[in-house]
């Protein structure tokens, strides 16, 4: 579904030419900012395509010269032990489930790989969450050296959370042309993961790497190779995934938080409704008004279907069936559009009409933000496999949590994205003559999260659900992973080295722990006078009287003088003593309602981490027991309420627990030298395989060398 605006007046044609000249001449290539508050400021979709094509052409023509330059410039020579090293990552694949299914004969290809080489449990990071673990995989370092401790960081000046992995700034310099503002400088978009990933080091030795959807690669690294970025690429609105529900249901009907509800209004007939699709904010205009597209829904109640028209193009949708990718082109200014992809589904079409629209992904064919390296790599993949999901957390867990979609829709959505990923892996396997390849599949993690309630008796999130159709969803996903491994095994050469791994496992999430409510109860956190603690983002907190607080998903910060804006705890001995006091109280904390231990241990990160960034970590890291995790309220900075609450959301399994409880897996087609490998061992291992001595700053050790090849 595309639409192109007509520009016919001479004044508009002249404006477009001027803008194009400014866009091509302005600094930065295919760089844009998408974000609430500062809007969408882009060089323009046409200019992006134009400049991208120019760059692609220059890149091809310059290839012989660049190759020669690299050979001349190469300072260190390596003697590779292998021609290709391949990593296939299954985010979240749990060791206990894998071992049980292997023993039951349900994962024959995993077993085949283990027999050919080895199987080990893979120790994960503290904390055991995706951004931290994959950053350690990439760099071979502990979090103190790569600076990723959580999905979220907190700004010590405001106590507010922010994304830990990427900074997306605003465009600050504009050329004003009447009501228009033309961006003159590209926005500041920075990857906040530090240290150096192994693929960059390989590139310094003229060894190619293809890196597909490894978390915490946005914006992408620049190295000798190709990369498709992953977490935390935003959606077209600049968020981490906002779905829309267009509905005729009255506003006073319950619609929980998460996503955006848009009213569908009748349009002159009992079967036609209209609304507007809100896109990114438009920084070309003062005040950043949102870009919009008109949406019309013509329903056929008898058939349970509808024709959806968005800005002149149409798609047929049916009740309960997710559409294929639908392209949306938001008009920024005349002659310039911003492209996105979404999937649609009718959720009801009777007395009320409701239409689900998935988060609008950045279009990979003409991406409005830097999502790949080289910048045209995503376009290349789009030409090869068609449209694909680009959002960092692409599977719409929130719509399922909010019961806007259902188990079947989420399963189909996840499997669709998984299939796209395998196509990318296939292309990379076909084209990689020598070098390294890593592809991460996310489906296992999402399926673990959303269907765990069905594999555990009495899970509060499964209350009232008799014989769920997706009771075996987790096993089905692991079987699919096994099939992928089988296909990879059939395609690799005998001298290739293959690793199959996961970054962590998974366990139950039945009870949420509101750390801020506990800190309030214990007197470490104080609310403002007349505040009840129900406001999000710690807005109710009196910082002048608060000694400790929780922000993010993994731990507690102390309110340290000189570090936090309103710190009251003296650094040094006072901080150490307070940390020990709180850790002592949390160790073995019991949930009085169940009698279970909720927190095994609270770890002092000062002793846990080594490196120049460890000061950015929470002071105490929680090691939750099986069944427990930070509560939804606590994650949003709400202080009020009980310390322990049931988790009744579909998101019913998790791994933000004591990392010792959720190791990942590692299989290799060679025997490795360690019985107890750690995820930080992967980077030094791949360097060793290509004849490069692992860097001194790496914490991991190589576990495969000449003797095993």
């Amino acid at each position: 579904m595309t639409t192109t605006e007509q520009t016919t007046s001479p004044a508009r044609v002249w404006l477009v030419l001027v803008l194009l000249a400014a866009a091509v001449g302005a600094p930065g290539v295919a760089d844009a900012y998408i974000g609430p508050g500062a809007g969408f400021a882009v060089l323009g979709s046409f200019a992006v395509l134009f400049v991208t094509m120019i760059l692609a052409g220059i890149s091809i023509l310059a290839w012989p010269f660049r190759t020669l330059w690299r050979m001349v410039r190469r300072r260190r020579r390596s003697k590779p032990l292998v021609k290709r090293t391949i990593f296939v990552g299954f985010d979240g694949q749990d060791a206990r489930i894998t071992e049980r299914m292997m023993a039951e004969g349900k994962l024959p290809n995993f077993s085949r790989l283990a027999e050919r080489g080895c199987y080990r449990r893979l120790r994960t990071t503290f904390p055991s969450i995706t951004p931290v673990a994959w950053s350690s995989f990439s760099t071979g370092t502990n979090p103190g050296r790569h600076n990723i401790f959580d999905f979220l960081d907190r700004d010590p000046r405001t106590y507010l959370p922010r994304l830990s992995s990427a900074h997306i700034g605003s465009v600050e310099k504009f050329l004003k042309l009447g009501k228009l503002r033309i961006p003159l400088k590209k926005p500041d978009i920075r990857l906040l993961r530090k240290s150096k990933p192994w693929w960059t080091i390989l590139g310094e030795h003229n060894i190619w790497s293809t890196v597909i959807r490894v978390p915490i690669t946005f914006p992408p690294d620049r190295f000798y190779g190709a990369q498709l970025g992953a977490m935390c690429i935003p959606d077209l609105l600049g968020t981490q995934g906002t779905f829309m529900l267009f509905t005729t249901r009255p506003d006073d009907e319950a619609f929980q938080e998460g996503g955006v509800r848009v009213t569908l209004s009748p349009n002159g007939s009992p079967s036609t409704y209209e609304a507007k699709v809100t896109g990114p904010e438009n920084a070309f205009f003062e005040g950043n008004p949102p870009m919009e597209l008109p949406l019309v829904v013509d329903v056929d109640r008898a058939a349970g279907s509808a024709r959806v028209s968005i800005n002149g193009s149409t798609a047929e949708v049916r009740t309960g069936e997710l559409s294929d990718w639908v392209k949306l082109d938001f008009p920024a200014i005349p002659g310039m559009k911003v492209g996105g992809l979404t999937r649609l589904m009718l959720t009801e079409v009777d007395d009320n009409v409701s239409l689900y629209m998935s988060p609008i992904n950045i279009e990979p064919g003409k991406p409005a933000m830097p999502i790949s390296h080289p910048s045209y790599y995503s376009s290349y993949l789009e030409k090869k496999i068609g449209p694909f999901a680009t959002l960092g957390l692409a599977e719409d867990t929130w719509a399922l949590n909010e019961k806007v979609t259902d188990d079947g829709t989420f399963w189909n959505q996840t499997q669709g994205i998984d299939a796209e990923r395998e196509q990318m892996l296939d292309i990379a396997l076909d084209t990689l003559r020598s070098g390294a390849l890593v592809t991460v599949f996310d489906a296992t993690d999402r399926v673990n999260h959303m269907y765990w309630r069905y594999i555990e008796d009495g899970h509060p999130a499964a209350a009232g659900i008799e014989e769920p159709a997706f009771a075996d969803a987790i096993e089905r996903q692991y079987i699919r992973n096994d099939e992928i491994v089988g296909r990879v095994l059939d395609r690799i050469n005998d001298d290739d080295v293959l690793f199959v791994l996961s970054d962590h496992g998974c366990t139950s999430f039945r009870r949420g722990v509101n750390l801020n409510a506990w800190l309030l109860r214990e007197g470490y956190l104080t609310l403002k006078e007349d505040a009840d603690g129900s406001e999000p983002w710690l807005q109710s907190v009196d910082w002048s009287k608060t000694r400790a607080y929780a922000v993010g998903l993994v731990g507690i910060f102390l309110n340290v003088r000189g570090r936090e804006a309103h710190g009251i705890v003296e650094p040094g001995d006072d901080t150490a003593a307070l940390k020990a006091e709180i850790a002592g109280k949390l160790k073995g904390l019991v949930d009085a309602e169940t009698g279970d231990v909720a927190i095994n241990e609270a770890f002092d990160t000062d002793t846990l981490y080594r490196g120049p960034y460890k000061g950015n970590a929470p002071d105490l890291l929680m090691g939750y027991n099986h069944g427990y995790r930070i509560s939804w309220d606590c994650a949003s900075g709400v202080v009020a309420g009980a310390v322990f609450t049931d988790n009744v959301k579909a998101w019913s399994g998790d791994h933000i627990v004591d990392p010792r409880l959720v190791p990942g897996i590692m299989l290799c087609n060679r025997e490795v030298s360690s019985d107890d490998p750690h995820i930080t061992d992967m980077a030094p291992t791949v360097l060793t395989l290509f004849g490069i001595r692992p860097a001194a700053h790496m914490d991991g050790k190589p576990i495969l060398g000449k003797e095993s090849l």
Binding site: G37, L237, G238, Q240, L393, W537, G611, W651, H697
Partner: protein, 64 residues
Amino acid sequence: MFGTTKIKLDSGLVERIRKFSEIAGYSSPEEFITHALEKELALLEDTEDEEEIKKRLQGLGYMS
């Protein structure tokens, strides 16, 4: 246009940086210099708008 700018530094300073960066766990002297400068800049730069932050975090599956 390609993301980096050259700055001249006293060679004695660079040598001290090179020695310290390895001990401290940086992957390169460049990383150490970048970190040192970023720490200083963080003290000077404005904070982000609260509403922008909240909107940007919207949709992250771990949070309500």
